[in-house]
Structures are given as structure tokens and as C-alpha cells.
């Protein structure tokens, strides 16, 4: 199953300069689109939804967030009807009690098991985002997420970076994030753990890039034989 973006509608970025006239992108893994505010990330998703500029034999869904307050998330998502695996995911996902309305809307979409799921930046905490990505992977849902926060990129396997309304660089996340100087030129710092592991590499303490503290501790211990 594949999903191709076709030529995007002209004037997608009517008032903010055209971003992507054509976007020959084969969507085949969890992807994050990184761009500064006003670069047209959300507009891109909205136009894609409106004009259906893609070809696929799978199902596609979109989520732009919902700012409603919901008291009982279990009744909203019909918790009792879910299988054990989905119930477990929901228990953990709703555990911290934050953004309940937002998460309910998201979970209702995910439970429909779309093949491709486009999601606007929901400003989820990193723990919730990690859960979302791993759940999507388990369910074979290809997740496309947009954000302006470099830290969230580490949860996705593919990264598209926008600059001046164009795709500046794209590729496997760990390869893109290795390009420290390029990312600086584009106006981005690196995610904290990636940056720290690169800098520790200059000190001769590390020889690989880490995405979290546990990996970093193991790498340090291994490289120094501590």
C-alpha cells in the first residue's frame, strides 16, 4: 500500500507565498514535518484534506486538534467496547489528565485504523507523543505529524525540514539531525540529546548519536568502559 502526494493545489499558501508546488514524496514511514510558525504546515494539511491531492489504495484521515473539555473520556471513546490492547493504550495515554478533549478526538480517529494519518501539532508532552507514535506503528498506521519543535522529531523515522516555504532538507531523521551546521543555518538547534552526544563526541567521550538519556548513559559507559 502506498500514498503519493500529487501536484498540490496552486495558491495553497495564498497569503504566505507558495510553499510546495509539487511534493514528490512517498509516504511510507512515520514522518515529521518541521517548520517555523507561519511556514504553512497546518495550511498544507488543510489543503491536502480539502483537495485530496494524493493517490492511494488505503484509507486517509486527518486531525487538527479539538479544544473541548471532556470530563469522562471513557464514555466518549466507548472504552468498554475496546480490546485489551487498545484499553491499555488509552489507560496510559489519558493517565496524566492533560488535554483530555484533544486526546479523545485523536483516539477516536486512531481507533478507526486509517492507513495514513495526518496530524497537526497537538503540543502533546513527549511521553504522550512517544505513546502515539508507538501505537501507530503497532497498528500499522503511517503517521504524518507537523511541528515547530525540533525535540519531537526524534520520535519519527523520517524528517522533512521547511525553510522559506520550501523543503530545505528531508531524509531519515537520524541522518538529517547529524547535519549540525545545516540545521543551524536553517535556524534550528538540534534536539538536546542529539546535540549533547555530538558535543561529547568532540570531547572523545561518545561515538554515536543518542536520542534519550538511557541510550546516552549506555554509550558513555561502553565508550569509556566504565
Amino acid at each position: 500500500m502506498e500514498l503519493y502526494f500529487e501536484i498540490l493545489p496552486r495558491d495553497v499558501w495564498v497569503q504566505k507565498t507558495l510553499l510546495l508546488k509539487s511534493f514528490p514524496f512517498l509516504f511510507h514511514e512515520s514522518t515529521c514535518m518541521l517548520g517555523e510558525s507561519g511556514s504553512g504546515k497546518t495550511l498544507f494539511l488543510k489543503e491536502l484534506k480539502k483537495n485530496k491531492n494524493y493517490r492511494t489504495n488505503g484509507t486517509v484521515d486527518f486531525y487538527f486538534g479539538k479544544l473541548t473539555s471532556i470530563k469522562n473520556w471513557k464514555s466518549k471513546i466507548h472504552y468498554e467496547m475496546l480490546d485489551t490492547e487498545d484499553q491499555f493504550f488509552c489507560d496510559v495515554f489519558f493517565q496524566n489528565g492533560k488535554q483530555i478533549g484533544q486526546k479523545c478526538g485523536l483516539v477516536l480517529k486512531l481507533l478507526k485504523n486509517p492507513n495514513y494519518f495526518f496530524c497537526d501539532d497537538l503540543h502533546l508532552c513527549y511521553h504522550d507523543l512517544e505513546l502515539l507514535v508507538s501505537y501507530s506503528q503497532k497498528k500499522s498506521i503511517f503517521l504524518f505529524y507537523v511541528s515547530n519543535n525540533i525535540e519531537v522529531t526524534t520520535y519519527f523515522s523520517y524528517l522533512i525540514v521547511l525553510k522559506n516555504h520550501q523543503v530545505a532538507v528531508e531524509g531519515k531523521t537520524h541522518l538529517v539531525l547529524k547535519e549540525e551546521k545545516l540545521m543551524k543555518v536553517l535556524g534550528y538547534s538540534l534536539p538536546f540529546y542529539v546535540n549533547l552526544s555530538i558535543q561529547l563526541g568532540y570531547y572523545g567521550l561518545m561515538n554515536s548519536i543518542c536520542f534519550n538519556k538511557e541510550d546516552m548513559e549506555i554509550c558513555l559507559r561502553t565508550s569509556k568502559n566504565l
Binding site: 497569503q15 504566505k16 517555523e36 510558525s37 507561519g38 508532552c125 515547530n148 519543535n149 525540533i150 543551524k184 535556524g187 534550528y188 538547534s189 538536546f192 540529546y193 546535540n195 549533547l196 558535543q199 561529547l200 570531547y203 567521550l205 538519556k213 538511557e214 546516552m216 548513559e217 558513555l220 569509556k224 566504565l226
Partner: protein, 212 residues
């Protein structure tokens, strides 16, 4: 709280308040507020900047340039702008009003690195050259670690305390732990002895000292 705003002000640098957000605000030439809670009906950005400030077009363009606001947005309605653009418009308005104290409510949210760096420098210039006080209401501890050594933490809407130790666990009942503190605490739990630093560069050196 903002009746006593002066007691939070540090004239030599950024003043930071954590775990607090504005609910009531009226900007003036004394105290100006930048907040996501601010809204305008159908005003065009240019009209809003012109209103109350009585500035000529050139001054308005200058203010937009200072806050990195694209001039093409001046002819748009305020309502269609992104939150970041709205905050830049509000800041330009306050610069034109010559407010002496700027209260910036989660101003840096959603900015990318280069924008954050630009505005840090810009505000430092305002503090030191224009003697404008800058009070930041922020919850992003990663950002706070890089700009101040102490801040005020609001426990609830009226009670607050001065925090000088970023490794005090009480802070993290209210806001997320910064990466530097999280990492050093984790390394300590793994048996390493590492100095308690808060900025990225100092943490890097502390790890080198503690592990090498």
C-alpha cells in the same frame, strides 16, 4: 499580582515567573502585555498599530522590522495570523507605545531556535540601552535554564516563592523538568557524581569532568 509588579522586576536582566498566565491585562505606556489571550475583532494589523500610537508609516515599518514581522502581514486581519505573528504584532504595538515594562506571557512558545536567539538579544538591548524592564511568564524550563539563575514560581494564583535551586523537586510538580536537570539526576541515579549545572554548555563540561 500585577498591582505589585515592581517587586518581580530585575532592572539588570530578565525577570521570570513560572507557572502563571495572564487573565486580565490592559496595556499602557507604563506596562504593556503580550499574550495569546489578546484578541481583536476585525482590525487590520496596520490599523491596529496605527491606532493609539499615532505613529507615521515609517515608524510602523521600523517596529515591524525590529520584531521580525513580515510587512506583507500588515494588510491582513489580525484574526488570520498565527499565534507567533499575533505576539509579534502586540510587541510592535508596545514598542510604538514606548511601554516602560513589558510583560511577555509565554512569548517564546513555538519560536524556533534562531528566533529565540534573536529576541533574547533584542530584549537584552531593550533592558540595557532603553532601560525597559522585561518580565517573562514562562513554563519552558529548558529555555529558562539558559537565561536566568533564579525565578519566581507560582504555587497557585496568589502564592509564590523565589527559586534559586533548579534541582528542587518541588518545581517539577508544576512544570516539566529541563533536559539538563533530568540528565544529571539520571546519571546520579546510575552512580556518577556530576556537578549540578543548568545550562547546556555547563552541563556538557560537568559531564566531561564527572565521566572522563
Amino acid at each position: 499580582m500585577f498591582k505589585d509588579i515592581q517587586k518581580f522586576i530585575n532592572p539588570d536582566g530578565f525577570s521570570v515567573i513560572v507557572h502563571f498566565s495572564l487573565s486580565q491585562f490592559v496595556s499602557s505606556s507604563e506596562v504593556g502585555y503580550v499574550t495569546n489571550a489578546f484578541s481583536l475583532e476585525n482590525d487590520l494589523v496596520f490599523d491596529y498599530l496605527k491606532k493609539d500610537t499615532y505613529c507615521n508609516d515609517e515608524k510602523i515599518f521600523q517596529a515591524c522590522s525590529l520584531v521580525k514581522l513580515n510587512k506583507s502581514l500588515l494588510s491582513l486581519s489580525y484574526t488570520v495570523l498565527t499565534n507567533v505573528e499575533k505576539r509579534k504584532v502586540q510587541l510592535a504595538h508596545l514598542l510604538l507605545l514606548h511601554s516602560k515594562v513589558l510583560v511577555l506571557d509565554h512569548f517564546f512558545d513555538d519560536f524556533i531556535y534562531s528566533e529565540k536567539e534573536y529576541f533574547k538579544c533584542f530584549f537584552r538591548n531593550l533592558i540595557h540601552k532603553q532601560h525597559i524592564a522585561i518580565l517573562l511568564l514562562e513554563d519552558d524550563m529548558n529555555f529558562i535554564c539558559e537565561i536566568v539563575k533564579h525565578f519566581y514560581l507560582f504555587i497557585d494564583k496568589t502564592h509564590y516563592k523565589l527559586i534559586t535551586d533548579f534541582y528542587d523537586d518541588e518545581i517539577y510538580q508544576y512544570v516539566d523538568m529541563p533536559y539538563t536537570v533530568e540528565l544529571i539526576k539520571y546519571f546520579e541515579s546510575c552512580g556518577y557524581s556530576i556537578d549540578h549545572e543548568i545550562t547546556f554548555n555547563e552541563t556538557l563540561k560537568a559531564i566531561y569532568r564527572g565521566v572522563a
